[in-house]
């Protein structure tokens, strides 16, 4: 099976990281797509929590907004937004926080706020949303975004949500309870934090991707693990499930699920 896109590879690789039965706090867009693919393939009992209030959502199509009605209708329960953040996230009940980003740095810190100076921004991005609390309080965090010089940068203009801060044990010193980001899944590769430094290094290349491509698409001096694996290509049943999900979404909304 070689007929798939790099975006499909990214989504499938991210979906595989969600263990069956884990409790996942889902960001909108790519995280939501990957989390629902996991639920439809390898992890039917994954529990999806959206910040608008649905717990155990099982949507048949991808939501366009974080509060689509189908999330509520298919959920085990719907609680107020304050409760989601207070009891379920800060209370320590989330196994995996699944986030997208506008930009990420080598320590897995995320910017979704501004490009340029905060007070005179070149580009004003949407802002924090739930991400700072998810990045801080979930037991672990997965980040999914397309890789380029623009998105994988040496220095963030703004740290909206913290990963490993300045690296090493900085995150622990900040007193944050969760483990922090355990993986960044891109359309080219999978990166994981290096033991000790907590700098993200490439641990798996997607099939057909070269090291040069990854270096080219990274704004810092990206390093590679001693042993770099090759990501298993998407299998037929994974691609079928993903494409069917996208087709249902397009039919329902008249557009693809949000990629923001």
């Amino acid at each position: 099976m070689s007929d798939y896109s790099t975006n499909e590879m990214m989504t499938v690789a991210a979906a595989r990281r969600l263990k069956n039965g884990s409790v996942c706090f889902v960001g909108i867009g790519l995280p939501s797509k990957a989390a629902n693919l996991a639920r439809l393939t390898s992890s039917p009992d994954v529990v999806l929590i959206y910040e608008s209030g649905p717990i155990g959502a099982k949507p048949t199509v991808l939501p366009l907004s974080i509060g689509d009605g189908e999330l509520a209708e298919t959920a085990d329960t719907v609680v107020p937004t304050g409760e989601i953040f207070r009891y379920w996230l800060q209370g320590g009940r989330i196994d995996v926080g699944f986030l997208g980003a506008a930009q990420v740095d080598k320590f897995g810190n995320i910017n979704t706020t501004v490009i340029g100076d905060y007070h005179k921004p070149k580009v004003r991005l949407p802002g924090a949303g739930g991400a700072p609390e998810i990045a801080g309080s979930a037991k672990s965090v997965l980040i999914i975004l397309k890789q380029s010089h623009r998105t994988f940068v040496d220095k963030l203009a703004f740290i909206t949500s913290v990963g490993f801060g300045e690296g090493g044990d900085h995150r622990q010193r900040l007193g944050l309870p969760g483990k922090g980001p355990v993986g960044i899944i891109t359309d080219l590769c999978i990166m994981e934090p290096e033991a000790g430094s907590n700098e993200f290094i490439v641990t798996s290349l997607h099939p057909g991707v070269t090291r040069e491509q990854v270096v080219e698409a990274t704004g810092w001096q990206i390093r590679f693990a001693d042993t770099v694996g090759v990501t298993e290509a998407p299998q037929a049943h994974e691609l079928d499930a993903l494409r069917a999900l996208e087709a249902r979404t397009a039919a329902a909304h008249g557009q693809a699920g949000g990629e923001e």
Binding site: I66, F85, R124, G127, P132, E133, H170, L174, E260
Partner: protein, 287 residues
């Protein structure tokens, strides 16, 4: 006891220039009709509080009603940017907009604190984020029991909160269901609360534990069917995703935006007239 009023009268009487106003509703039940009425009445110098500014605040900011924006995520969900918000922040159009930026967890907690009559809220996960560096209102407090240093943020106490709900009864008791967001907290945190509803019924038939806001905790209830469009009202109508997409080119350009609000909002008497005008435009386009 809440008064049953027209939305125009409620806004005239209970929203004043310079007020801190919260229009809440998390994707669901967004009080769009109320934002239009604020524009029609030319309210100004408002401090607008809302977790997700969405189209309602893009409208108010572009129309020049806002002095300050308190928010935690300012995008057009599933589409991209809020162009009027960005133009105000990046280019000071139509005038400079002060922004006070938080995270969702922060603002949700701040509403809870406001509704609880407390001066501030406590939460954990701002450590390591740059947000406290650009928002001086995010401070720290040391737990007197464990010594843990936590974030402290001021409670939100709006002069007026406006929410949209599914039903009210004739006494003005309000029932809402589905995704509740922070509507209840925002309503109870405010000095005055206006609720627009889809319908007014004899009996709410509310299930036990349902989210009911009692009439004596509210100021005004206004019948505005469809008043949450293009967001949705669970059990009444779905989210109009195409409108959110159509908003992008309208709001992207200053002249197009101004022409749109002049024609459809300032040029209509109320939300029902707005709905008729939009519907007849769509009918004309479909021909």
């Amino acid at each position: 006891m809440a008064e049953l009023l027209s939305l125009r009268e409620a806004v005239e009487r209970f929203v004043h220039d310079g007020d801190t106003v919260a229009l809440e509703g998390f994707t669901h039940l967004i009080p769009t009709a109320a934002s239009h009425e604020l524009i029609r009445q030319g309210k100004k110098d408002l401090t607008l509080v809302r977790m997700t500014p969405d189209l309602v605040y893009d409208l108010l900011i572009g129309a020049g009603c806002a002095k300050r924006l308190v928010f935690s995520w300012g995008g057009n969900p599933g589409v991209g940017s809020l162009h009027r918000l960005r133009d105000a922040v990046e280019k000071d159009w139509p005038h400079a907009l002060e922004i006070e930026e938080h995270s969702h967890a922060d603002l949700a907690n701040s509403y809870v604190a406001g509704a609880s009559g407390l001066p501030f809220a406590v939460l954990r996960a701002y450590a390591g984020s740059d947000l406290p560096k650009v928002n001086p209102l995010i401070k720290t407090v040391t737990c007197p029991f464990t010594g843990e240093v936590l974030a402290a943020v001021p409670s939100v106490r709006p002069d007026v909160t406006v929410i949209h709900a599914q039903k009210a009864d004739r006494k003005g008791n309000v029932l809402l269901w589905g995704i509740l967001g922070v509507q209840k907290e925002a309503a109870l945190a405010a000095k005055r609360c206006i609720v627009t509803v889809e319908e007014i019924v004899d009996d709410l038939n509310a299930p036990m534990n349902a989210c009911v806001l009692p009439t004596w905790a509210l100021t005004a209830v206004c019948l505005v069917p469809g008043g949450a469009h293009p967001s949705y009202a669970h059990g009444y109508y779905e989210r109009d995703n195409r409108f959110y997409q159509a908003w992008d080119p309208i709001a992207r350009d200053r002249d197009t935006f101004t022409a749109w609000i002049n024609e459809y909002i300032r040029g209509t008497e109320d939300f029902a007239a707005f709905q008729q005008k939009i519907a007849s435009k769509h009918t004309a386009e479909a021909k």
